[in-house]
């Protein structure tokens, strides 16, 4: 009779985490920044497959890592938000609840499945001045093991998250105008792609949650608009 090898739970978790980090590290990073009248989500993305998407009126999603996995998460988020908004009201759909749902689902996969998810996601929400108690922005980051954190000002996900985080900590100022926030985000993504060809505006995916827009506040910037804003 063969005895199965004993592997300690710590070892299993460590191996899984290492596997997930490696997978995420292979992909490109994504930056989310608050600016004076909204929230900016940016990713280096030369392909036409989106890494950033609209979830609901004031909520957007950004993912890094394995496309098929974070795109599944994005769609789950849209289903969750639309169902909740239909059952209650549009104002009852909040980023915090969605980030928590992601955390539960991703944590579940991490503990139960052989292969952990090789993704990290951001759930960002722009405030609404006309709704009491909803005025401030919110940014949540959920990692492959379901660990969740909230961020003020900016948040980076992806392989170079630590390094870019320190760059942004040094250079980010609250209340940046959109143009400056875009340039800062661009510079950060450029740093992440160090020693590689330049990150051109054509290879950037940029979306905004605009505080002053009526109804659905999500807007995807075209390359032309982006070039104009970056002034290159």
């Amino acid at each position: 009779m063969t005895m199965p090898f004993y592997v300690s739970p710590e070892q299993v978790m460590q191996d899984k985490a290492e596997y997930a980090r490696k997978g995420i590290g292979r992909g490109k990073s994504s930056v989310t920044l608050e600016y004076d009248t909204g929230v900016l989500l940016m990713a280096e993305n030369p392909s036409s497959l989106s890494k950033i998407g609209e979830i609901y009126d004031r909520i957007a999603f950004a993912g890094v890592g394995k496309f098929s996995e974070f795109d599944q998460l994005r769609k789950l988020g849209v289903r969750y938000a639309d169902t909740r908004g239909y059952a209650y009201s549009r104002d009852d759909v909040r980023a915090k609840a969605l980030a928590n749902a992601y955390s539960q689902a991703m944590g579940e996969v991490f503990t139960r499945e052989m292969k952990p998810l090789e993704v990290e996601v951001i759930v960002a929400e722009v405030g609404d001045d006309t709704l009491a108690g909803h005025e401030s922005n919110a940014i949540y980051r959920v990692q492959f093991d379901g660990s969740i954190s909230d961020h003020e000002g900016f948040c980076v996900i992806g392989g170079a998250a630590e390094e870019l985080g320190s760059l942004l900590r040094a250079e980010y100022r609250a209340g940046l105008p959109l143009r400056d926030a875009l340039r800062l985000g661009h510079r950060a993504l450029q740093r992440a792609a160090d020693r590689e060809p330049n990150v051109t505006p054509e290879n950037l995916e940029v979306c905004l949650l605009e505080r002053n827009r009526v109804g659905r506040k999500f807007r995807r910037l075209s390359t032309d608009t982006l070039l104009e804003l970056l002034g290159t």
């Binding site: 998460l73 789950l76 239909y86 749902a101 689902a105 998810l117």
Partner: protein, 272 residues
């Protein structure tokens, strides 16, 4: 690997998502009449219309809802934008019709978010006809919902409009259409003045006139309520999106129409 929040549905339709994973949220009126609700006694919307004009389509509706012979509401909104380039105008049982319009709006938005691009106008009309067909069991018991659907087709660069029947039958109209209790009169009115290349102003006049004519002949249609300051809703749907005609504009046009029709009071109310 399954990542889920407990649901099983994988597609891009919101109504199918509800049917699969949240059945209790999906509206179903088919049992209402069996449980003794009189279909005549629930609020009904009356007259809505749509027609083409030079820039796209105009969709309009009066504001009255009736319960049998009573007024249920004087200012309900029966013309509802479903996205930036399409609208539904509802007639029939108001509750189910409004809910269907709301679902339709979410359906279009949901598809756009999941798939990353909006449906074509034909696809939207088709979706609505499927929703009406799904309501057939309720319609058979009197909860009839017969909307108009209109929008600006950005691919063909023109306004288009459809009418539906209770079975979900979908008929594209070339010029104009009206439905609801005063629909016949509104249609007769439009027939005389409709011009597919009319300006905004002429189009607005055509819409206000048709609704006034309908309210003149059909007691359940609201028309313009000058006393309370309640005006019909008139929407322009063009390449630039959807815009609602402001009430003062409608007021001005309505007074002009009245001016051409008003007769001086005769002596002692006796007409010779």
């Amino acid at each position: 690997m399954p990542i889920s929040f407990g649901g099983r549905y994988q597609g891009s339709s919101f109504t199918e998502l509800l049917a699969s994973d949240n059945t209790r949220l999906l509206p179903d009126w088919s049992q209402l009449c069996a449980s003794g609700v009189d279909a005549e006694r629930v609020p009904h919307g009356t007259t809505v219309l749509a027609f083409k004009f030079s820039e796209g389509v105009i969709v309009a509706g009066d504001r009255l809802a009736t319960e049998g012979h009573r007024v249920a509401s004087r200012d309900i909104e029966k013309v509802l934008p479903t996205d930036d380039y399409s609208l539904v105008a509802i007639a029939g049982a108001a509750g189910p019709a409004l809910e269907m319009a709301r679902l339709m709006r979410i359906e279009l938005e949901h598809y756009e978010k999941i798939e990353g691009e909006p449906l074509e106008l034909d696809g939207k009309a088709n979706r609505l006809s499927q929703m009406i067909r799904a309501n057939l069991p309720a319609a058979m018991q009197g909860m009839v919902v017969v909307p108009l659907f209109a929008g600006y087709d950005r691919r063909r660069r023109q306004g288009r409009l459809w009418k539906f029947d209770v079975t979900g039958g979908r008929y594209e109209e070339t010029d104009y259409e009206a439905t609801g209790s005063g629909g016949l009169y509104a249609r007769e009115s439009m027939k005389k003045v409709h011009d597919p290349v009319a300006s905004r102003d002429a189009g607005l006049r055509c819409a206000v006139q048709a609704l006034s004519d309908a309210s003149d002949e059909d007691r359940a249609t609201g028309g313009v309520d000058l006393e309370r300051g309640i005006y019909p809703m008139v929407y322009f749907c063009t390449a630039a999106g959807i815009a609602r005609a402001p009430d003062p504009e409608i007021d001005r046009i309505y007074r002009e129409i009245l001016g051409t029709r008003r007769r001086p009071a005769s002596n002692g109310g006796v007409r010779r």
